[in-house]
Amino acid sequence: MDWQAFSLTLQLAAWTVLFLLPCAMLIARALAWRRVPMKSGIEALIMLPLVLPPTVLGFYLLVAFSPQSAIGGTIKSIFGSAPVFSFTGILIASLIVNLPFAVQPIQRAFESIPRNVREAAFVSGLSPWQTMRRIELPLAWPGIVSAIALTFAHTLGEFGVILLIGGSIPGETRVLSIAIYDRVQAFDIAGAGVMSAALLGFSLLSIAIVHTLARRRGTGAHGFQ
């Protein structure tokens, strides 16, 4: 077991969830309720990472972030280095790749809250912020947890994008899936097996969480008040 890769993977997944969740909630809420211009275009763009081959996305990001490019060059002039072959680079890639996994479940959850339930809250004297905290978040909670679980699980297994933009630098970009690939290349089947089993366990756990919440959503029950 490559504990360094294991810890790096968890860090990547945690940071991805932490950064992505607030953005996803804002985007999802706007798409669900507001009259957004070019809504279907935006939705399609968010969905793109689902169908785009990860290596293709990784290639474009590599080109965009390289110090020779406009974006990469600008970032390098500000932060001292371009975000290729670094943890920052794979984090940015991970945020983009996970956008659909985070936005979709939250958007569906917000959409399922009837408009007049929010209006009832306003008429009952609840400010928009109180409505958010006491009505919208509790009702959207299963969708939010689904988004967390899906994003987390998906980040654990991300391979193609990370390999292209990050390579396999121990402690910096070598996450579990890359480490597994390296072990197999080195004919260390046992080592690859242990790490694969760990990833399998995590994935099963996330699916279980998503499923349980999806079923509880139907009855309107949840542990948040």
């Binding site: 009837p114 008429v123 009952s124 004297g125 009505i135 009702l139 008040q225």
Partner: protein, 363 residues
Amino acid sequence: MVSSDDGAAALSIECRQDAPIPLDVSISTRAGELLALIGPSGSGKTTVLRSVAGLYKPRHGRIRVGGESWLDTDNKIDMSPQQRRVGLVFQDYALFPHLSAVDNVALAMLDTDKVTRQRRAEELLARVHLNGLAHRRPSQLSGGERQRVALARALARDPKVLLLDEPFSAVDRMTREPLKQELASLHRALDIPIVLVTHDIEEAQALADRICVLNKGNVMQIGAPDDLRLRPRTVGVARLMGQDNIATAEVLDATHIRCGSHVLKVRLVDGHTAGEKVTVLFPVDCISVIDADAEHASLANSLRGHIVEIFASGDFKTLLMDFDGVALRLKVTAREAAQRHLAVDAKITVTLDPEGIHLMRVE
């Protein structure tokens, strides 16, 4: 109703716009009055209600409650729904699905402390006869119980206006009657204006002090239920009020009209000229059955004809009668129908009370 100034505790609504929903209404109600807004779908009745609640903003509008301006588009006044203190019962109740009945009600009182609002919420639930169900979620309540929770929640803010949007449409007929009676007694106890939106004329007649008929965003007529039923301004209002006995006639002189082959005495024909074609309404109140086949046609305004059809509905039977081309419908009790041996094709004679016959202009 005693009021310190002209607008105190009363509600006045003015909304005007051409699009997206055409509106041109000006309505006011007194405190303690239940006003029913009735009209076909798309008539703007729900939009008017939402405007009062602050959930819709008409292009031009003024809404004043008890001397306080809630909306005045000319003077850029537009209070938020939170500031307005209205009680609104939504058509499908819009309860918060994740909260118990008591928490649904308590949430409308966030400005008071937790203990007080919990106690007040339980009192309100008791007031709508929901003792013992306080800790159930909306999904565990029946339609009628949900309506009561919605009503308790609407009352929780101590509203200055109570708004009811088709409050009985989501409950079955069996539940509707007791709920209506409870609303009637609540209405007697509340000293605030109540606005009820409905498309059910019976509901409006049973509950309202005054009825406002809306069509395409315009007020067709506003008045007491009997005013609208017996003296509708237009055929449209008459039909909406459930009146079927409508015919065309010609004015003969100040107190007579010709309807088909009959010359009928009517109350003083005001504002109509001799020879003018009019639409005439015979409210059921002015029709009395004399006898199954009375031959004494000498009585004033008596019509002889026959029964075309009888529709049975429980304790009542509706007679469809033909008097030489003038068709009239009349509801009689099943007992009366049996006693008078009323049957299809049987002869029948009725008299029409001149005071009750109502004339309208041809549209």
